[in-house]
């Protein structure tokens, strides 16, 4: 049985909004990073659904790109978070609001 494309896209949109809301309301940097991951996966899901609907492999190729990019982003992000914690002894994103380092 096939799932209609609309359902897949709707799920992707809901996931994206949940991720966005997480980025906007959370102050903890780790939670924000996780929310960004949710948003990325939502975008990836939309690609796969689109690719499946046109029965081509393009969507899946794009998803692999996104995975690679997300992996790189997480590694950089986590490194930054460690630096942030060493500097401010907290993971509150608002504490790093000044440009004076």
């Amino acid at each position: 049985m096939t799932i209609p494309m609309q359902y897949g896209l709707l799920l992707a949109a809901i996931l994206f909004c949940i991720g966005l809301a997480g980025v906007l309301v959370r102050r903890d940097v780790i939670f924000m990073l996780m929310s960004v991951e949710v948003m990325l996966n939502a975008a990836g899901l939309a690609f796969i659904v689109g690719g499946a609907a046109r029965s081509s492999a393009d969507g899946q190729v794009m998803f692999i790109f996104i995975l690679a990019m997300a992996a790189a982003e997480v590694s950089v992000g986590l490194a930054l978070i460690i630096q942030l914690y060493q500097k401010f002894k907290t993971l509150d994103a608002d504490s790093a609001s000044q440009l004076n380092g």
Binding site: L20, L24, V25, R27, A93, D94, A96, S97
Partner: protein, 634 residues
């Protein structure tokens, strides 16, 4: 040969550019070679070209050279183009030749100055702009040179910028000449709107056919151009800047404020003589202004104690003579006096500069004295210059040039007995202040010791200029003495000859050669009388070595007839007053408002840069939503 014309102008500009770009890194000797060499080369090119012009071109066909087109806007296409005829050749000769001598003198004179390369860069720039002024074939290029020399004058008056007084003098010179320049620009606008061209020769050919003699438009235009000439040539009422301009180093005073730039007004009037002949009112105004100036400045010169100020007022006064000559239509007499005056006045300035330099920057003549034994070369050359300035009869060039003006002030159809008498009075005053200066500086008890002897580089220009002030007069002798007309013949290729009156100015007086003899005799007696009076009053008198005590009348003359005070009360103070009470008028409020609106925007936008990551993310999300909405709804 004539295609070399552009080199005369280009060489000084190239020298100036080179010194401005690399002057700081060049050794002094290299800077001196570039600075002096560029003008000297220019003078050599001028001599070659000038001899060619004199010999190969007896009819005086003007040489014309177009380098390139400057602008081309709907038919208005002034070019970078040069026009060389006998009038411009006379000026080019003085500018390059006397200029080269002054540059040669300036090299040792300025040797110890830290701004050595800067000095020569400005001087070369000046020579370039001055040549542009006299060679331009259109008024736009002439105006470029006109403002360029004004700029260089400003830069060089304020050359020793560490003293605020010099900066003030520079600003004063710039502002006062600007008054005249504004009038001149308006005059050029009138010419352009009438003829749709600024080409000088085209306009001069067209004017007599389009404008009736004495018509309002011709009078207005000539009057406005005269305004420019008055400002540049420091004539009454715009003469106040020149005495202050003596803050410049002496070679600058010799080159700019005696020989060349201040005579640009004479050049302008001679160049546009057709216009002035169409406006008889303005032409007689030229003569009257000249006559008033020569008396005003001469009287002021008598009471100065600063040797350079004497020479400054004397320059104003001698240019007054040139204006008288222009005003009575004695064109070649004016240019002849310009040339001779350039020789002897730059000689006097260089001599005064030598005296000032060896006495440790001492300007006060009452603190000098007895220098004739200690500085023989400077003394004898200075004496030759002084004799030429006071027009001692028969031997000096100044006699032949000034006598011609005084004679034409009487004998020309535009002359009058009043102008003649004024000229004679001026000659008396000239001899008086000149020899007062000589006696105070070089005779009497020595009050200061010269610090050093001068080298060849400084004495050679003095000797050459003294030679020229001596023999320069013999190229043009009056009708009754030899009747040599080399110069006037040369000038009359371009400018008309003076028309004599048919009758004697006053009935009963003789006319013709007899009158000329009598006039010359009177002029000679007058100048010798001035000399004698100076001898009686100032020779070997034990003056205290200080600024002389002056009574109020002498103080009035000393201050240059208090023109500065008058302008301060009538113009400067009211403007300052109004600007003080009118600090917050509508226009100011508009601009203040503009500034505060910009400040508000700044505050609003700065508030968005709060450094909070989640705000930025929110802004991104909102922006994306809005963009999507717009994209999807259309």
């Amino acid at each position: 040969m004539s295609e070399l014309l552009w080199l005369i102008v280009a060489l000084p500009f190239a020298g100036s550019l080179l010194l401005a770009m690399a002057g700081k890194h060049l050794p002094r000797l290299a800077a001196a070679i570039i600075g002096v060499g560029s003008v000297a080369l220019s003078a050599i090119v001028m001599l070659i070209l000038g001899l060619d012009f004199l010999h190969g071109n007896p009819a005086g066909v003007p040489i014309h050279q177009t380098l390139w087109q400057w602008i081309n806007v709907s038919g208005f296409s002034p070019g970078i183009a040069f026009h060389l005829d006998s009038v411009s050749l006379t000026f080019v000769f003085v500018i390059t030749f006397v200029g080269a001598l002054i540059h040669l003198y300036a090299a040792p004179f300025m040797w110890k100055d830290e701004g050595f390369a800067r000095f020569f860069s400005y001087m070369n720039l000046f020579v370039g702009f001055m040549l542009l002024l006299v060679l331009a074939d259109n008024f736009l290029l002439l105006y470029l040179g006109w403002e360029g020399v004004g700029l260089c004058s400003y830069l060089l008056i304020g050359f020793w910028y560490k003293d605020p007084a010099n900066g003030y003098a520079a600003r004063k010179a710039f502002t006062v000449t600007r008054v005249g320049d504004t009038a001149m620009v308006i005059g050029l606008f009138i010419l352009f709107t009438t003829y749709h061209t600024l080409n000088i020769q085209d306009i001069l050919v067209a004017t007599p056919h389009t404008w009736a003699p004495g018509s309002t438009i011709a009078t207005t235009t000539a009057f406005l151009l005269l305004g420019g000439a008055i400002g540049k040539s420091a004539q009454v009422p715009l003469q106040t800047w020149l005495p202050d301009a003596m803050a410049a180093p002496s070679p600058v005073s010799a080159l700019i404020h005696a020989a060349t730039m201040v005579t640009a007004g004479v050049y302008l009037i001679a160049r546009t003589h057709v216009l002035f002949e169409l406006a008889p009112v303005v032409q007689s105004a030229v003569a009257v202004i000249g006559a008033v100036t020569l008396i005003v400045a001469g009287m002021a010169a008598i009471y100065q104690h600063d040797i350079k100020k004497v020479l400054a007022y004397s320059t104003i006064s001698q240019i007054g003579y040139m204006f008288v000559a222009l005003g009575v239509g004695a064109w070649s007499a004016a240019l002849f006096h310009f040339m001779i005056h350039a020789f002897f006045k730059s000689l006097l300035f260089l001599g005064a500069g030598s005296v000032i330099a060896v006495l440790h920057d001492e300007h006060n003549m009452y603190k000098m004295g007895g220098l004739w034994k200690k500085m023989p070369v400077v003394f004898w050359t200075f004496l030759v210059g002084a004799c030429a300035l006071s027009a001692l009869p028969l031997i000096t060039a100044g006699f032949y040039s000034k006598d011609e003006i005084i004679w034409q002030a009487y004998a020309s159809d535009k002359g009058s007995i009043t102008l003649w008498l004024t000229g004679l009075a001026g000659a008396f005053i000239t001899a008086l202040y000149t020899f007062r200066m000589v006696f105070l500086t070089f005779f009497g008890k020595a009050k200061a010791e010269p610090a050093y002897r001068q080298g060849m580089g400084m004495t050679l220009p003095l000797v050459v200029l003294a030679f020229l002030s001596f023999v320069g007069g013999f190229i043009q002798l009056p009708d009754n003495m030899g009747h040599v007309t080399l110069f006037s013949h040369f000038i009359q290729q371009v400018l008309p000859a003076t028309t004599p009156t048919g009758t004697a100015v006053i009935a009963g007086l003789p006319s013709g050669h007899a009158a000329e003899w009598i006039a010359q005799l009177i002029a000679a007696i007058v100048s010798i009388a001035g000399l004698t009076l100076a001898y009686r009053l100032y020779y070997n008198k034990p003056f205290p070595a200080a600024e002389p005590v002056r009574n109020p009348i002498q103080q009035f003359f000393f201050k240059g007839w208090d023109f500065d005070l008058l302008y301060d009360k009538v113009i400067v103070q009211p403007i300052v007053f109004f600007s003080r009470i009118d600090k917050n008028d509508v226009i100011d409020q508009f601009y203040t408002g503009l500034a505060s609106v910009a400040g508000l925007f700044n505050k609003g936008l700065a508030a968005t840069q709060n450094g909070k990551l989640r705000w930025y993310a929110m802004a991104l999300a909102i922006g994306a939503v809005i963009t999507l909405t717009i994209l999807l709804s259309t």
